[in-house]
């Protein structure tokens, strides 16, 4: 299990692969479910130029670790990795990676999605967007199950 906050651009697939190669034994896992959240250049019809991601050093890591531990209480999986950006982010850049390795696909899918929703609703991060030279704090995260 690993939780990392990174400043500056990161390659989620490199992180996933490095974690897999150093922490997992080949042949032990049959399923890898992953999610990458990326900064879009449009939000609610407006062009977003830049994002600033603030966090609460100490509590953010702790809350992410708690989320992974709660997922482990619910599903049987071998490993999980969360990587989250903080600081300035530009359109097209990855913001977050969640990856879960398990023997079978059910728990990998379930845990990956549950971790991502929990992160969105509980982990102390706050986004400030710059649009047309002005900035504003994003008010609230949307529900990831509403399927829009």
């Amino acid at each position: 299990m690993a939780v990392k906050l990174v400043h500056g651009s990161f390659d989620p697939w490199r992180w996933l692969l490095d974690h897999q190669e150093t922490r997992l034994s080949p042949g032990s896992y049959g399923a890898t479910a992953s999610f990458v959240g990326t900064m879009r250049d449009f939000n609610e019809g407006d062009r977003v130029e830049e994002l600033f991601l603030e966090h609460y050093p100490g509590m953010t890591e702790r809350e992410l670790e708690k989320i992974v531990a709660e997922a482990r209480d619910q599903w049987r999986f071998l490993d999980a990795l969360i990587v989250h950006r903080v600081g300035e982010i530009r359109p097209g850049e990855p913001i977050v990676l969640v990856a879960v390795w398990s023997a079978h696909r059910g728990p990998a899918f379930d845990a990956c999605r549950w971790i991502m929703e929990a992160l969105k609703h509980r982990a102390p991060f706050w986004k400030k967007e710059r649009r047309d030279g002005g900035t504003r704090w994003v008010a609230r995260n949307t529900d990831g199950y509403d399927g829009y």
Binding site: M59, H84, A123, W126, A139, R140
Partner: protein, 77 residues
């Protein structure tokens, strides 16, 4: 006697111009007391709180030496 450390994040920090402040514990029993002593207002559901980096509620007790944080709804991921 040790004080209570209070932190604010994101839009709350900007709104109240408070990043980090030390409060004397006199007259403070709960998270809601901390918020009121700094802002003169009652907490709303737009204000989340943590005590010692664990989510807390307005009625959560606060003791000297604690770190109390206030922040808006989270928007990561």
């Amino acid at each position: 006697m040790s004080s209570i450390r209070v932190r604010m994040f994101a839009s709350l920090r900007e709104r109240w111009q408070i990043d980090q402040v030390e409060l004397k514990p006199e007259g403070i029993a709960t998270v809601a007391d901390v918020w009121r002593s700094l802002t003169g207002e009652a907490m709303t559901d737009q204000v989340l709180a943590a005590v010692n980096m664990e989510y807390a509620r307005p009625e959560t007790p606060v003791r000297e030496g604690d770190e109390v944080a206030f922040f808006p709804p989270v928007t990561g991921g």
